[in-house]
């Protein structure tokens, strides 16, 4: 479903964010991406939804060669992905409801469908009572849950989550992780970049650890700290 082959990324300012990263994620897998702050987790996700292009290497997402994708085709790619951005990226002049609906509207979904799916998504993240508020009227955690609802609403084949629980209390975190698990059980491939040790350790799913832009650990049913600092590379 997702495949990175020897992908390197050099930002224009000279920072080498990724260094020959190779990673295969099968359809229906649930993968945690962990690692220090600034080690390249968000960069991996950004490559997958083509916000940036790799300096070298091949990237395939759902059969699409993302590294070669022309700008015109990018919207089509993104419509098959659900993305929870680390900084939420909510539209400030749309309400919670509209922010979530917008992700459906751009796909050309019929209005009936929108009116059915949006409340469902808001309900899943526990935000039904906030649907008419604007993002800057929300608490940090509410904004984060809005971003999650928007990523879910299209029932995407692939869900990319960048630190989706950084602003959530433990109870909410558990709920959101359970939700991701349920979605994964329905067949969606889920990739979660996170620092939350408790979540990773409790879930016992595949864990990929990045260090300095390199994959250093890749383990089925792993723990957050497994292999940290040992530099061992296991191919998934």
């Amino acid at each position: 479903m997702i495949s990175l082959r020897s992908v390197s990324l050099l930002y224009p300012n000279g920072v080498r964010a990724l260094d020959h990263v190779t990673l295969e994620i099968a359809k229906g897998e649930f993968v945690f991406l962990v690692g220090h702050s600034g080690t390249g987790k968000s960069s991996v996700l950004r490559l997958l939804y083509r916000e940036i292009r790799p300096s070298s290497g091949e990237i395939t997402v759902d059969g699409i060669r993302v590294d070669r994708l022309s700008s015109r085709r990018v919207p089509a790619l993104r419509r098959h992905l659900g993305v929870v951005f680390q900084d939420f990226k909510l539209l400030p002049d749309k309400t919670v409801w509209e922010n979530v609906a917008f992700a459906m509207q751009v796909t050309g979904a019929p209005t009936r469908e929108i009116l059915r799916q949006v409340p469902r998504a808001l309900d899943l993240v526990g935000l039904s009572h906030r649907s008419r508020m604007y993002p800057d009227e929300l608490s940090g955690g509410e904004q984060q849950r809005t971003a999650i609802a928007r990523a879910l609403v299209n029932n995407p084949k692939i869900l990319l989550c960048d630190e989706p629980t950084g602003n959530l209390d433990p109870a909410n975190t558990t709920e959101i992780v359970d939700l991701l698990l349920r979605i994964n059980l329905k067949g969606t491939t889920v990739l979660v970049a996170t620092h939350n040790q408790a979540v990773v350790d409790r879930m016992r799913r595949r864990v990929v650890r990045l260090e300095n832009g390199k994959v250093t650990t890749d383990k089925e049913r792993g723990y957050y700290y497994l292999g940290l600092g040992q530099g061992q590379v296991l191919s998934g």
Binding site: Y49, R50, E51, S71, R72, V74, P75, A76, R78, R79, V83, F85, K89, L90, L91, P92, D93, K94, F102, A103, Q105, V106, T107, G108, P110, T111, R112, I114, L115, R150
Partner: protein, 293 residues
Amino acid sequence: MDWGRVRFFLGEVARGFTRNAVMQITAIGTVAMTLLLLGAFLFIRTTIADLGNGMLQQIEISVYLTPDATPHTIAALRASFHADPRISTVEFIPKAEGLKELRARTRGVIDTSLLTENPLPDKFRIRVRSPQLVPAVAGELRRLSGVDNVVYGQGVVERLLRLDTVLQRIGVAMIALFVIVATIIISNTTRLAVYARRREISIMQLVGATNLYVRMPFICEGLIDGVLGAAVAIILLVVVHATLWPRLLDALPFVQFNTAVVDVPVLVLQLFLVGGVIGTGAAWISVGRHLQT
């Protein structure tokens, strides 16, 4: 047809207006100001052009006859003038009348009682349909038999004609300048508006919106801004026209302003058109800059 989608789209456009009132007022104000200048300029130009045309239309050609012209020659000349399609009016002025006119023109300075004999010849006074024709017609008339001399203010007419074309060109240049200035100002405004919303645009794209999808609300906003700006300009022009123009005409009673020549519906249409095109075009160009992915 999914009406929900149409409503959503209209909602998008409406939101642009309600949430970003600052930007909308800015854009509308800019369009209005520019079109106000343009409209005022067009109006004044048309009026003045008509005034100049009117003056040129009054040019007359004096055809002085030889002293020995017989009534028969005169009748033949008059017939040939009437037959010429380029000539609009023909008037015969016998020498006696000519003297009266001369005296009137010199305000009694010439003591005509001193004249033992009328020193003036008979003449025809002729007007042609278009000032451009004057020199050519005069040249032909001079060659007719029975005609002694043809006078039409040589030099002056040519100069006036030249002035007219120069003024026409200045007018066109000024209008072009105005439209260019307006487009630059408005496209700058739109570019700023887009700049102010660059984050939103990038978010829309990240969620999967196509370029067209992102662009459409901006284009529509540009169109509406342009049209509303034109409307404001037209209202201001009408107000100015109703309040200031009569006073101006009052101040210039001896100039024959023919205000009716300004075709107001056409002017209104022109302004709406220019406003709409400028608004849409400026938005299109400006939003394009932020859509490179």
